[in-house]
């Protein structure tokens, strides 16, 4: 148990810092869905951009990039199988040094920040394309009123780029607000989106195959230097020195490399694989590999084949001029069949495109926020950025900065997907290159555990030579270098962005070093950090039946005071815990204790200790990293065998909603598990008590009376004299469960719905097919009752 008071080393407050993130584990299908939400979104714009740059043979390069992504995926699997602690900055720093690490993080940030604008604008292009096409079709049929005709001086139409900018801004602002409020990234949603996308892909491929049989196809020129037709823009800085069509002939392979570089953004999103890794269920490596296989095959089939089909089926005259920014829509319009069916399918493509592309906008904000949070934890971004939002507790300053940068990018692009794509490729290729380079260097420097290695590897004179890793790095590096010369927009934008971020990181690191040295001194005087891989009673030195008090905001510790005033800490330990929430996108590597216990936690615990001192009681302190705070609380209560959890009222949720969230997290814990009591302490001292886990429900008087009447009647039946009240309940519940699971399901749901409406809203949100485990106690004010123990 911890102590407080004088600052001699033995009396310093002990804080147990758990360094393993408390995660809610997901299957490899869900992990694959999360990654594919990002990766598959590239399929909607990658080929259009590549064809504008290199000509009609672009689909072959997209296919080549998708095949190469199988090898890049192997590098990410190796990086995920290493058991290192620290953020991406620390890992790259270990391999390549501080300067390259900062550049690497800058490139990754550029990648993440550009993902939002390109996805938002692309979603806008698909929507506007459909609206304009609908206007044209309606006009052909004479459905457009003359007055509308006069307003537009012809067929009504929307300005494609301008409207795309407006849509991209709207989507970005919507997700800015959602992220400021702190929405959880849901694997369930990602899975649903991918299921709908799969329906679209299956229809697309099947209908395309039918169209190929019925209507024939245009051949796709082979990817040889003679077939490459670079535009002036696609040669970037080289366009000043070489006539565009001579370059490929002068340096045949260079032309191939340039074309490959223009197609590389087709595999953007692959980096998300590293971020879902830590959330994969056991056996982790096996599931990671399975997820990687699903991702690679799916993206190859969708992005690769749809690129080939677009050139095979859409006539040259319209493919680039009309459909360059919404190629899949163009594909839908050139299927074999009636126009109305094609229009319906195009609308479906647009809906799916909007879902997946707007999802990518969200992923970009979450990913940027996650990476910058980690960079801040690594000490290269000022702590100021990480101060939680006053009301929602999110890192809103980072979110604001990211969204402002994204909005500026959208405005600067003026809705031009090609420009955005060119710039985006910079971040994609350089973040891949830095990652593969780091992995290569770490093969020689890092001697720790590694679950898997990119094959092949040969050993010469006792030294292992990583041939496969070296080969992948060579392709990435040569592509990145060529892109520097041929993608002038990307190079200027990417280098400027990286320089700005590099300066921010360097200045922040310098300032943080001084500040952290002071803070460390202060810490040494007051706290003793004990690192622990897992959370258990042994590491904290506490007894079973303790009270767990989650804290987050150091301004709202009333519930801790209430617990301490109502507990006898000689009999029952009080554990104050805070969950250090790492959002999606931050879980690529483990955490070091310094990262988990930051300035903020120090201030929070200093205040918590002050409260304990003022009441004169002892507390134990615990920090746990987690993806979801509810899951962290439930798992910690379970691991510590707590009898009660006492929390403050949330600013976002009602007490009943908090109980439901904790109940749901408790449900996810594997058996065997114990129930506990949740007490929500409101500012006025009112306490709402809930039981978490299955428990005897509180019965209304009339229900008890009904049960008793039934018992009286039943025991009068011959042979049933010995029946008890509980036998009747067992029989009734068994029959109810049978009816609910079979013939009477809908009626029961309706009946319960009516019943709950008549009784007022249910205290917790209910889903028809989910039996909630949380029920509030009937009486609310428990002002004078201390923390409770669960009753059976």
């Amino acid at each position: 148990m911890s102590s407080f008071g004088p600052t001699s080393p033995s009396n310093r407050v002990r804080i147990v810092v758990a360094t393993s993130v408390m995660l809610t584990f997901i299957s490899y299908w869900r992990a694959a869905a999360i990654v594919l939400n990002d990766l598959a979104s590239s399929g909607f714009y990658a080929c259009g951009i590549a064809e504008q740059a290199v000509g009609k043979s672009a689909p072959w390069f997209i296919v080549a990039v998708m095949l190469f992504s199988f090898a890049v995926r192997a590098v990410y699997v190796e990086s995920c199988s290493m058991f290192v602690r620290g953020g991406v900055y620390k890992v790259v720093k270990e391999a390549l040094g501080g300067t390259l690490a900062k550049l690497s993080v800058s490139a990754l940030m550029f990648d993440y920040i550009l993902t939002g604008p390109i996805s938002g604008v692309s979603a806008g292009q698909y929507i506007v394309g459909l609206v304009n096409e609908t206007f044209i079709t309606a006009d052909i049929h004479g459905w457009i009123p003359r007055a509308v005709h006069n307003i537009f001086h012809g067929t009504p139409h929307l300005n494609v780029n301008l409207t795309s900018v407006v849509i991209a801004l709207a989507v970005t602002i919507y997700y800015w607000w959602e992220n400021t409020k702190g929405i959880q990234e849901s694997s369930e949603k990602a899975l649903r989106v991918m299921q709908i996308t799969t329906v679209m892909v299956v229809i697309l491929l099947a209908w395309s195959a039918f169209t190929l049989l019925k209507a024939g196809y245009n051949p796709v020129p082979l990817p040889i230097p003679q077939n490459l037709h670079f535009s002036k823009e696609s040669l970037g800085f080289l366009s000043h020195s070489f006539p565009e069509q001579d370059l490929a002939k002068m340096f045949g392979l260079l032309g191939i490399l340039i074309a490959f570089g223009h197609s590389v953004l087709a595999m953007s999103g692959e980096e998300s694989l590293a971020q879902v890794n830590r959330e994969l269920a056991h056996p982790k490596l096996k599931n990671l590999k399975k997820a990687a296989i699903v991702i690679a095959i799916y993206s190859f089939v969708f992005t690769g084949l749809s690129a080939l089909l677009s050139v095979m089926l859409i006539p040259d005259a319209v493919r680039v001029p009309v459909y360059k920014d919404n190629l899949i829509s163009g594909l839908a319009m050139y299927m074999w069949g009636p126009l109305i069916l094609r229009l319906i399918f195009r609308a479906f493509v647009v809906v799916v495109g909007f879902l997946i592309l707007s999802g990518a906008v969200n992923t970009a904000i979450i990913g940027s926020n996650g990476v910058l949070n980690r960079v801040s934890e690594d000490g290269v971004l000022a702590d100021w950025f990480r101060v939680p939002h006053r009301k929602y507790g999110t890192s809103s300053r980072i979110i604001n900065m990211v969204v402002v940068l994204q909005i500026l990018t959208i405005l600067a692009s003026r809705g031009d997907v090609y420009v955005l794509g060119e710039a985006y490729a910079f971040g994609v290729i350089w973040s891949f290159t830095f990652n593969s380079l780091s992995m290569l260097v770490l093969r020689f420097k890092y001697k720790g555990e590694r679950g898997w290695k990119v094959p092949p590897n040969i050993t010469i004179a006792g030294t292992e030579i990583p041939i496969g890793l070296f080969a992948v790095m060579l392709v990435l590096l040569s592509t990145a270098l060529v892109n520097l010369a041929t993608k002038s927009v990307a190079t200027v934008a990417g280098v400027s962005f990286s320089v700005v971020f590099f300066v921010i990181f360097t200045v922040s690191e310098h300032a943080n070093r001084k500040k952290h040295a002071l803070a460390k001194e202060h810490m040494k005087d007051h706290f003793q950090l004990l690192q622990s891989d897992t959370v258990d009673r042994g590491s904290l030195g506490i007894r079973p039946g303790n009270v767990l008090v989650p804290v987050r905001d150091y301004n709202t510790l009333n519930h801790l005071r209430w617990v301490l005033e109502h507990s006898d800490t000689r009999e029952q330990d009080v554990v104050v815990m805070t969950a250090r929430v790492s959002q999606f996108g931050t879980a690529a590597y483990g955490l070091s204790s310094e990262q988990v216990f930051s300035d903020y936690e120090q201030t929070l615990f200093t205040r918590a200790v002050s409260v304990a001192e003022s009441v004169g009681k002892r507390i134990s302190l615990l920090v746990v990293p987690a993806r979801d705070p509810w899951s962290a609380i439930a798992q910690t209560a379970h691991n510590l065998e707590s009898s009660a959890v006492a929390a403050g009222i949330s600013s976002k949720m009602t007490a009943a909603e908090q109980a439901f969230a904790l109940g749901s997290a408790w449900e996810a814990i594997p058996e065997p598990k114990k129930q506990f009591v949740l007490q929500i302490v409101q500012p006025g001292g009112i306490v709402d008590t809930f039981r978490i886990g299955p428990h005897t429900p509180t019965m209304k008087n009339e229900d008890v009376a009904l049960l008793h009447r039934l018992w009286l009647n039943i025991t009068r039946e011959p042979g049933l004299e010995n029946v008890h009240h509980h036998d009747i309940l067992t029989q009734a519940l068994t029959r109810f469960a049978h009816d609910y699971g079979a013939r009477d399901h809908d009626n029961i749901v309706k009946e319960l719905g009516r019943h709950s409406a008549a009784d007022g809203p249910l205290p917790v949100r209910r889903i028809a097919d989910q039996i909630a485990t949380v029920q509030p106690e009937p009486t609310r004010p428990d002002r004078d009752e201390g923390p409770q123990s669960p009753k059976e």
Partner: protein, 48 residues
């Protein structure tokens, strides 16, 4: 002289591409075989 330097640089990049692409094909084949084993191989049975 300028063209010579550019030619040398281009040849270096081309060599990197050829060597890298050849090696990547090997990575693709070897990891593909592992993937097939993972997907279609028999799960280890635990008889304990």
């Amino acid at each position: 002289m300028g063209l010579l330097i550019i030619t040398v640089l281009v040849r270096i990049l081309e060599t990197m591409l050829v060597v890298g692409a050849t090696g990547s094909v090997v990575v693709l084949v070897l990891s593909g075989i592992e993937d097939l084993k993972l997907l279609f191989g028999r799960e280890e049975q635990n008889y304990s």
